[in-house]
């Protein structure tokens, strides 16, 4: 196995694992690395996935990212304007990989606002966007380009934009198992929410990263099972598919200084 791969490429491959067993659902990766992760899965491990052009059409093959040239013909399958996206979301046949600004111990996430009061936040961000509906309707995974305590916050998110495994907020008639949060891909590791009582749990460490680094940079307890693997390095085939999906190498500009995937 070559050690010659970037951290971005490692995270794309780790992210693609999230979609492997999804069957025929709409895979939505928000941001370049999540989009490439979903695209890689659609080209390799799960060819039944569906994807949009990020605008108004559903595709039978993912579009390469960036400028595709005037002669590129995208593989449209059906019209999928924004209003119809919600028909898909509410059907549950979707898995989104999103990049929250804050994630708390319950898997609740925030992209709306930080600090201050609700009436006067210190930092106004996007608003809750589709997080409330996504989180209660279908599977979600998280992408975190910089694993630190500002993202993985103590207590609860400043604005809880998506439902998580929080007993205190569980709606009447629901069980925690109705919430479906899958993988968390960070620049340090892969985690899931399958620890005791849906606690965040370490699944694998990226090459050269220690358990201590993960724990020190997370604002709440992470369950560390007896055996924690190393995140699988990209294969030559995966790297070839990634290069075809990202011919302008936009992935090299996503993480600060484009670190190598193996930091041992």
């Amino acid at each position: 196995m070559s050690k010659d791969y970037s951290l971005a490429e490692l995270m794309i491959c780790a992210g693609s694992e999230a979609f492997k067993n999804d069957g025929e659902v709409l895979a939505t990766g928000i941001g370049l690395i999540p989009r490439l992760a979903a695209s890689l899965a659609m080209k390799t491990s799960n060819q039944d996935l569906m994807m949009t052009d990020s605008e108004a059409f559903l595709l039978s093959e993912p579009n390469p990212v960036g400028n595709r040239g005037d002669d590129y013909v995208q593989k449209n399958e059906t019209w999928m304007g924004f209003s119809r996206i919600f028909d898909n979301v509410w059907s549950g046949k979707r898995h989104a990989m999103v990049g929250p600004t804050q994630i708390d111990q319950y898997g609740q996430a925030n992209i709306s606002a930080l600090g201050g009061t609700y009436e006067q936040p210190k930092v106004q961000m996007l608003g809750v966007r589709g997080f409330p509906g996504n989180s209660i309707s279908h599977a979600n995974s998280f992408f975190v380009p910089s694993h630190n305590k500002r993202v993985f916050v103590e207590g609860e998110c400043d604005m809880v934009a998506s439902i998580g495994y929080n007993p205190a907020r569980l709606p009447k008639g629901y069980s925690l198992d109705d919430v479906d949060i899958r993988l968390v891909i960070t620049d340090l590791c892969v985690m899931d929410w399958n620890g005791p009582d849906h606690q965040l749990q370490l699944v694998s460490l990226h090459p050269g990263i220690t358990v201590e680094q993960v724990l020190e940079n997370t604002g709440f307890d992470v369950h560390v099972p007896d055996s924690v693997g190393v995140t699988t390095a990209p294969t030559a085939e995966q790297l070839e598919v990634i290069r075809a999906l990202d011919p302008h190498d936009l992935r090299s500009k996503q993480l600060k200084d484009n670190p190598p995937g193996d930091r041992s």
Binding site: S83, F86, Q124, V128, R129, F131, G133, S137
Partner: protein, 303 residues
């Protein structure tokens, strides 16, 4: 005035108006829906006309972009009903951000899909539509007007998304005729049909005004998403969505949005307003941003 005056028996309605006529129909305190999505197909010529007017205390319902930011910056807004306000390639709308961080505006912050349900409820005459969206989140905590109810059919609780009844909707479309038949030829008409249906009156600017026979071709009438009875007035403003896009006619103006965004850090909205909008007609505005021909050459964004 809207062309209703000409609604005599045997004479088809002529709904043509100027943008000043349209803004003249607005009143302080109204609830206004604005079509489009983020930096895409926003009725910006009408927004500029509102900025030049005395109208104030508006409640704005929108998938927001610079429309919401400009209205907030100009002190026109009492309350924003929103899921996001964003310029997409510039994720955070600078003036909406300022208004929120100064605590200047009331809000109703809801999910994108909840907004669609609220517009549908208004269009259908329902007081609310039940949904699971918002349960387990702060959306049900920070919005006192949002009620959680029991269902007569199951043991779960549901969010009762209230109808978002609009006094007026403002939209920009590719083409319209003088009777208010509106065509959107872009790949997505967003929620504009629901904004049209949720409002007492809908006013539209269009890039092209066409003869009614234009729509005889089913390839053209297929892109008409609401009936003309939903449209109260039509104003011809080529390039009227600038700096937002009106694909396939033109993309959004990245350079202009960058200047707009930078003005929030240096000079403030007052400087932007003075430079581009104050005392300027739409033609003068367009000349300042490079002219209508340049607007029509703006490339489509690539996603």
């Amino acid at each position: 005035m809207a062309g209703n005056e000409f609604n005599k028996k045997g004479v088809a309605m002529d709904k043509r108006m100027t943008t000043a006529d349209i803004v003249g129909e607005l009143r302080d305190g109204m609830t206004i829906g604005i079509g489009g999505w983020g930096p895409r197909r926003k009725p910006m010529a009408l927004i500029r006309e509102i900025l030049r007017s005395d109208v104030k205390d508006l409640t704005i319902v929108a998938y927001g972009g610079a429309d919401v930011g400009m209205l907030c910056a100009a002190g026109k807004v009492k309350k924003v009903i929103f899921a996001f306000v964003s310029l997409d390639f510039i994720p955070l709308e600078p003036y909406f951000r300022q208004a929120r961080q100064k605590g200047e505006i009331e809000t109703m912050e809801i999910d994108e899909g909840m907004m669609l349900l609220g517009l549908r409820a208004a269009a259908w005459g329902c007081p609310y539509i039940p949904t699971q969206i918002g349960l387990g989140t702060d959306v049900v905590k920070v919005n006192p007007e949002l009620k959680v109810i029991d269902s007569p059919y199951d043991e779960k609780e549901w969010v009762a998304m209230p109808a978002l009844k609009l006094d007026v909707s403002l939209l920009h479309v590719d083409r319209a005729d003088e009777r208010g038949v509106c065509q959107i030829k872009g790949n997505d008409h967003y929620m504009d049909d629901w904004f049209a249906r949720a409002a007492d009156k809908t006013f539209v600017t269009c890039d092209e005004l066409v003869d009614s026979d234009y729509f005889n071709n089913p390839e053209e009438s297929r892109y008409v998403y609401w009936e003309r009875s939903m449209t109260s007035g039509v104003s011809l403003v080529p390039g009227g969505a600038h700096p937002s896009s009106c694909t396939p006619l033109y993309g959004f103006d990245v350079k202009h949005f960058k200047e707009y965004n930078a003005s929030a850090k240096e000079g403030g909205f007052e400087a932007y307003y003075e430079k581009f909008i104050k005392g300027s007609t739409e033609e003068e505005y367009q000349a300042k941003v490079g002219g209508l021909e340049a607007i029509k050459q703006l490339p489509m964004p690539v996603y």
